[in-house]
């Protein structure tokens, strides 16, 4: 288990990460999001043992994390981080050996992953000769080759086509199935939403949004229920938990103030001629935008 407990990091007068806490259990994926300069990279570097937190603790299986734990961690940085003059095989052996594996141990794993990503024929091609997508695949392999307990994936789908996105997505799922903890970071919030149960959104080092994605969605104060009805639903506008009702012919959008009132709304509509009842939970993107907006208003 990875535990980040009240971690703070300051550079000069600038607070990079402020009082950040979260936990990841084996087989779980955490989405760590944030705008540029929000403190994600600093958080990664503290987890990787490059920086020490000014206060707070980072524990891996109950022990304070340090650079000596690097063999248990895999890291895929946002930018391409490969040596262009190396061949794919050399690159993978290099990063694998840095993680404490022997060439003998790495050999079958390299074969497996190159075959999985259809790169076997490019084994001896230099990195600089590869397409961006293939480079990203090599980078992904190098981050998981040593079978780490924790993997940090920063924009893993960058430069990939839908087919390769699917390949990496399946690889990530297979990792969680074997108990690997994953921290997933991406500007594509739909990807994060599809992978992660838990999410943290950082803004200027402060977590603006954190917790289980479904719970966050249900804890909001504005929900839209799409209802297709043959009756006029505007009569419901007087109900206290209904904020507004708009319609486009028979399709109504009913905005309510709490997820808890959905059952009540459903009961109210049961006497009417209803063809469709669809609760529209806010997307992660909506939640993030609302959180940032709220934070800006408070400031």
């Amino acid at each position: 288990m990875l535990q980040v407990v009240n971690v703070q990091k300051q550079f000069g007068s600038k607070i990079a990460v402020d009082n950040l806490s979260f936990e990841i259990n084996r087989g779980e994926i955490l989405g760590l999001l944030g705008t540029n300069g929000a403190g994600k990279t600093t958080t990664f570097r503290m987890i990787l043992g490059i920086f020490k937190p000014d206060s707070g603790r980072i524990l891996l299986d109950g022990k304070d994390i340090s650079i000596d734990d690097s063999n248990r961690i895999g890291f895929l940085p946002e930018e391409r981080s490969l040596l262009p003059k190396y061949t794919i095989a050399e690159q993978l052996y290099f990063f694998g050996e840095l993680k404490g594996k022997t060439r003998g141990e790495l050999e079958p794993k390299i074969d497996h992953w190159l075959s999985y990503f259809e790169l076997t024929d490019n084994r001896d091609s230099k990195i600089k000769e590869l397409s961006k997508g293939n480079q990203q695949k090599v980078q992904f392999i190098s981050s998981i080759l040593h079978e780490p307990d924790l993997v940090i994936l920063d924009e893993p789908f960058s430069g990939l086509d839908p087919i390769n996105i699917k390949l990496i997505a399946e690889a990530i799922k297979s990792l969680t199935a074997t108990g690997t903890m994953i921290i997933f970071s991406s500007h594509r919030l739909d990807y994060v939403e599809s992978f992660s149960k838990d999410v943290i959104f950082l803004e200027k080092g402060v977590p603006l949004l954190e917790g289980n994605i479904d719970e966050i969605k249900r804890a909001g104060n504005e929900y839209i229920v799409e209802v297709e009805s043959l009756d006029d639903l505007h009569s419901l506008e007087q109900v206290d938990f209904i904020i507004s009702i708009t319609n486009d012919s028979n399709l109504y959008k009913i905005k309510i103030d709490s997820y808890q009132n959905i059952d009540q709304l459903f009961s109210l509509l049961s006497a009417m001629r209803i063809r469709k009842f669809d609760v529209k939970l806010p997307s992660l993107e909506d939640l993030v935008i609302n959180a940032v907006r709220r934070n800006d208003e408070e400031l």
Binding site: I67, R80, F95, E97
Partner: protein, 412 residues
């Protein structure tokens, strides 16, 4: 020292494996081997042919000393003519305290106590040869071609007054060669190390590498691998040169023996005995050179880590080249007083210490002390600059060097 071995292996691999590297090393090995082993043979042949002429000259001696002395008496008031055992065979004056010219006919040498100038030395040759030619023309000892050759041979002029200066020139040459070699090694190592670190940084591979190893270990690896590479180059050249000498010796043992004798003669001139002390001096010279290279390597590593573009790195090289020009120029110009001060500056020790030791301006103990100072500086510099290196590696912003240095100690 986590991952030191792995990093070192992968840092050395591209320097020693691959077709280009094999060809480069083969050329480095073959060049001195061929130059000395076979080119040396040609040079020796030339020397030998000159020596044959000299030999003829030494054997045949046709000019009576008295005649030469007579001819010179119009220009010089006090002339001695000696034979090969340094015995005076003709003396033009009885004044023992002042001798203007000593003419050694057997060794073709004229020695004076003062600088008679080039013009006069030509004049002397002309006078002596004129006497000889007259003898030849007059039919004296005109029997063989050898005699004519002897009659036309040039005398080597030596100004005893300037003997000390000559000694200094030998020392200067030693100093200059030493400076030049170290200068080249430092500049080459600086470029090599810098570009290697910069390549890892600019490709962002550093982001991953640095998550597996401590930055100061990474710096140490890069410095060590470059040093190993430089030493391997020097050794390759040396081995090639030694084998070249062996080939030369096998094909011409006598002449090589003469060269060895000449080398020993040079050491004798410099008042250096071939003994344990000489061995220590050689070890000190090599050690001092290596430590200076290390010092500059550490600076190169930090400079490369701090820059974000190759142009910036090249700009960072500027002050180093200028710094290196200081000992280079001082060695060339030969400002002894400055050299005696700068020898204690660890970056400059190998530029000055060997020649100062040879000229007896410093002792081996002082040389050793300078090396100790260098070693301490290497350790201190490594410790002091390691945080800057780490901060630099992770920095991709356009922060100035000053800002990075400030940050590196704040974020320590």
């Amino acid at each position: 020292m986590k991952n030191f071995k792995v990093l070192l292996k992968y840092s050395l691999k591209p320097k020693f494996s691959g077709r280009k590297q094999v060809i480069s090393y083969a050329l480095l090995f073959l060049f001195p081997l061929l130059l000395i082993g076979f080119g040396g043979q040609l040079a020796l042949n030339l020397i030998e042919s000159e020596e044959v002429n000299d030999q003829i000259a030494d054997v045949v001696y046709i000019t009576p000393p008295g005649k030469v002395a007579d001819a010179l008496s119009t220009n010089f008031s006090n002339v001695e003519i000696i034979d090969e055992t340094d015995q005076v065979i003709t003396k033009m004056s009885n004044e023992d305290d002042v001798t203007e010219l000593i003419i050694d006919l057997d060794n073709n040498q004229i020695t004076s106590d003062f600088n008679i100038g080039m013009q006069d030395s030509y004049g002397l040759n002309a006078v002596i040869n004129e006497v000889r030619m007259t003898d030849v023309i007059n039919g004296l000892d005109v029997h063989t071609q050898m005699e004519i050759t002897r009659a036309n041979s040039e005398f080597e002029y030596t100004n005893k007054f300037a003997e000390d200066n000559d000694n200094n020139s030998v020392l200067g040459a030693v100093g200059f060669a030493n400076t030049f070699i170290i200068y080249m090694i430092i500049i080459f190592g600086f470029q090599l190390l810098g570009s290697e670190i910069f390549e890892e940084k600019s490709s962002r591979a550093m982001e991953v590498i640095i998550t597996n190893t401590k930055p100061h270990v990474h710096m140490l690896v890069k410095v060590c691998s470059t040093l190993i590479f430089l030493v391997s180059i020097i050794l390759t050249i040396l081995i090639g040169a030694i084998l070249g000498i062996v080939i030369l010796y096998m094909s011409n043992p006598d002449t090589v023996g003469v060269l060895v004798d000449q080398l020993l003669e040079l050491l004798k001139t410099l008042d250096i005995a071939v003994n344990f002390q000489l061995l220590i001096f050689i070890i000190f010279t090599v050690l001092s050179g290596l430590l200076a290279v290390l010092l500059f390597q550490i600076i190169a590593a930090v400079a490369a880590a701090m820059t974000t573009s190759y142009e910036d790195y090249q700009k960072a090289n500027g002050p180093i080249v200028i710094l290196l020009l200081v000992p280079y120029m001082i060695s060339m110009i030969g400002i002894e007083a400055l050299a005696k001060i700068l020898v204690y500056f660890p970056f400059f020790t190998p530029f000055f210490a060997p020649s100062l030791y040879l000229s007896e301006d410093i002792s081996l103990v002082v040389f050793g002390a300078c090396i100790t100072l260098q070693a301490i500086t290497v350790i201190v510099l490594y410790k002091v600059l390691a945080p800057v290196y780490r901060e630099g590696l992770l920095n991709y912003s356009t922060s100035s060097f000053k800002q990075i240095i400030k940050r590196s100690y704040k974020n320590k």
